[in-house]
Each structure stands twice: as structure tokens, then as C-alpha cells.
Symmetry: C2
Subunit: 203 residues, 2 copies
DNA sequence: CACGCTTACCTAACGATATTAGTCTAACGC
DNA sequence: GCGTTAGACTAATATCGTTAGGTAAGCGTG
């Protein structure tokens, strides 16, 4: 069955996503991906530059998935604030596709200058900035608030998935409290907008 | 210079900490540690069970360091709330010893049943529960609040260290906002303490 | 229809990784 | 002073990612 298996970059990334979701993004390996698509590891290099390129592909897909989740959450939110809708959407996405979510975070292999990656992240960020606007936050206030949101939601997802929370009390309830803390804490946060400039360029 | 270098477990962990702080916890390697203590990699096995044991040792030290940081922060806090003092203490510890901080988080190699590890984590947790008490949170409310705190503070530290924030606005200011969001958001959080039981056992 | 070229697979091999086995020597206890 | 042994070494294995080189299928062109 050797030659002409009909492989391509998309199929490789699909398999990598499936493996990452099943066995964990950390455990992802070139050999495993190759085996999943019915080929030997070196053959993947005809379609992909290397393991880093696969990681980058998954990173891109993960960012796009988060932006998509924010987009439908912002459109279909019922009653809830945009902030709450986005928070729940991000956690749901992480639960449904843990490997893709893990890949969506930068890591030590991620270069800091990658325009495509940056753009994908920026798209997701846009929905968060809009959500902050609903709370009355604009300019730098909104950008600080987005950082607070990202830190809290990502931190929760990560600690939960690492089993750092232990058992005993309901994590869903904890997350609900986190969302309320964000809403309440961010809403009143105009106190020290000591700078009047509307918005600097970076998130 | 071969035999009798005067090696022991503590010296190995010290070197591992130094390397993790300098090059990143992810980049830590047995060979690097061995070279740092002036020995070949297999020789480390006479003092340590293996790489996992080194990771566990660093994990333990990282948890102890955080508990220590919480302890002095709680004792020396001036004006600030205990919550704010602990938050700033954790971030400072992470900035001063990034490798030790990274090791303090559980990872895929961390077994979920390790009494010593659990006890070390519990000590740090104690200070946070006390801090929540200052905000009027007890029982399950305090435990949920501790999760919110850990998620937000750890999430911020991680995103910042990964360079996920980009430049443009001051991260110190963002962290100050995060602390205020925690204080404000958690203080009013008695709304739905629908359960009256004081405290279940798990964090 | 045949020939050749490109493409996509393969095996072999390399350097790094953690780890195990086996050797050798120096230092400590009697 | 001498034997035992702890503590170092080299050699070797399995699993990583990666590169080089070989082989054959399928397509295009004469």
C-alpha cells in the first residue's frame, strides 16, 4: 500500500487534532501522526515542513476555533452579558476539543513574530474588546480588561484540565462564580482611567 | 576528577533550579543538570530515581516557595487586603524564579495521588482560604473564591511569561486591575451561597 | 503507446533524550 | 593495610525529530 496514499497537509492536521484531543497535546508525536494516516514518519515531510509546522497549524486552527466560538456566542447570547457568553464559550470549546485548545496557546516553540498567528489571535481579541465595551470599558481600560478576562478564563481551564483543583466541590459552580467576579469586578473598573488616550494599538 | 565528587540530592535539585530559572523549565534536561554538577548523566541515578523524581522535587520546592511567599505576604501586608498581598507575592515569586514557579504547577507527568505533594499544596492553599475569610467568604464560598483567585493569578503569570500579551500597554497596570477585579468581584459574592455546610475537605 | 520526470513513499542513519547494565576505582571501615 | 562498596564511568537501548538516498507509481508528452 505504499505509494500514493493520497496524503495532504489538511489530512495530517486533522489526524493531529484527533490525536491531541484523545491523548493530550503534550503527548503528540510525529510517529503517532504518521501511523494515524497510515504512513512512516519521514513521509510527512513531503507535506509539512516538520513538527513545528504541525504545531503551528494546530495553533492557527485553535485560535480560529476560539474566534469562531466567540463569534457565535456573541450572536446567540441570551440575556447574559457578552463577557459571560464568551467565557462560557471558551470553556466549552476547551472541553469539547482539549487538544485543539491546548494547541491554541503559545508555547516555547512559538516564535514571537508570526503575522498570520498574530492576525488569528487578533480576530478572537476583537470579540472580547466588543464585550468589554458593553461593560462601559473603552481604550486602554478595555485592553486591560481583556487581559484580565483571558488570564482568568485560561487559568481556570488550565488548572482544571491539569487536575489542580482536586475534587470535592463542583467546578461548574466555581466557573460560574469566576464569570460573576469578572462581570462585577470589571463593570466598576473606571476608577483610575488616569490616561485619556483612547486606544493604543496592541491588545 | 571522576570519583567522589561529593554529590547529593540537594545539590542536584539546586542545580536543576538554577538551570530552570535561566533556560526555562521546559528546556530542563538530565544531561544539562549532570553537566552543571560536573558529572555524566547516568551518575545522577545514584542520588535520584530519575528525571521524574527531579521534577517532583522541583514541584515540591515550588509549592513550598509559594506557601512561604504567601506567609510573609500575609504577615507583612501593609494596608492592602490579604488577597492583594498574596496575588502580588505570587507574581513576584514567579518573576524572581520563573523556573521554580513553572515547576510548581502540575503537569502531565504529575501523578494525581501523591500525599507529600498534596500536603505542600494544601499549605499554600491555607493562606488563600484565610485571605478569603477577610472578604467575608467562608465554607464553599471560600473554596470557590480560592479557585477563582488561583485561575486568575496563575493565568496572568502564564500568559505574560509566554508572551501572549503582546506589548503596548503596561502589564503591571494590567495586573493591578486584575487584583482589583478579584477584590471587588469576590467581596460581593455572597449572593448565592445556597449550601449551608461549612466546608468540604477538598480545597 | 512508451518513455521520462515528478512525486510520494520507503529504509537507513544521526543526534538528543531518558534509562539500564556492567566496569572500575577510590575512599571508608575494620 | 586491606576488603567492601559507594560513586563515578562507558556502552548500549528505545523513542524522539530530522535528513539523505533509494524506489516506484502515476502523469504528461513524444
Amino acid at each position: 500500500m505504499s505509494p500514493r496514499v493520497g496524503l495532504n497537509r489538511e489530512a495530517i492536521l486533522d489526524a493531529a487534532e484527533r490525536l491531541a484531543d484523545r491523548d493530550g497535546y503534550e503527548a503528540l508525536t510525529l510517529h503517532a501522526i504518521a501511523a494515524a494516516v497510515g504512513v512512516r514518519a519521514p513521509s510527512l515531510y513531503h507535506h509539512v515542513r516538520g513538527f513545528d509546522a504541525i504545531r503551528r497549524g494546530l495553533h492557527l486552527r485553535g485560535l480560529a476555533a476560539r474566534a469562531d466560538a466567540f463569534e457565535v456566542a456573541s450572536r446567540e447570547r441570551d440575556r447574559r452579558s457578552l463577557v459571560a457568553a464568551c467565557a462560557y464559550a471558551q470553556r466549552r470549546a476547551a472541553q469539547e476539543r482539549p487538544g485543539v485548545y491546548a494547541a491554541s496557546q503559545p508555547s516555547s516553540h512559538t516564535p514571537d513574530t508570526d503575522d498570520e498567528l498574530h492576525a488569528a489571535g487578533e480576530r478572537a481579541l476583537g470579540y472580547l474588546v466588543t464585550a468589554m465595551g458593553e461593560l462601559g470599558l473603552v481604550g486602554d481600560d478595555a485592553l486591560h480588561a481583556v487581559r484580565v478576562f483571558r488570564a482568568a478564563v485560561h487559568g481556570f481551564i488550565e488548572l482544571e484540565s491539569l487536575g489542580a483543583f482536586g475534587m470535592g466541590i463542583d467546578p461548574d459552580e466555581s466557573f460560574a462564580r469566576l464569570v460573576e467576579v469578572l462581570e462585577r469586578g470589571l463593570t466598576a473598573a473606571q476608577s483610575h482611567a488616569e490616561s485619556g488616550d483612547a486606544a493604543r494599538v496592541e491588545r
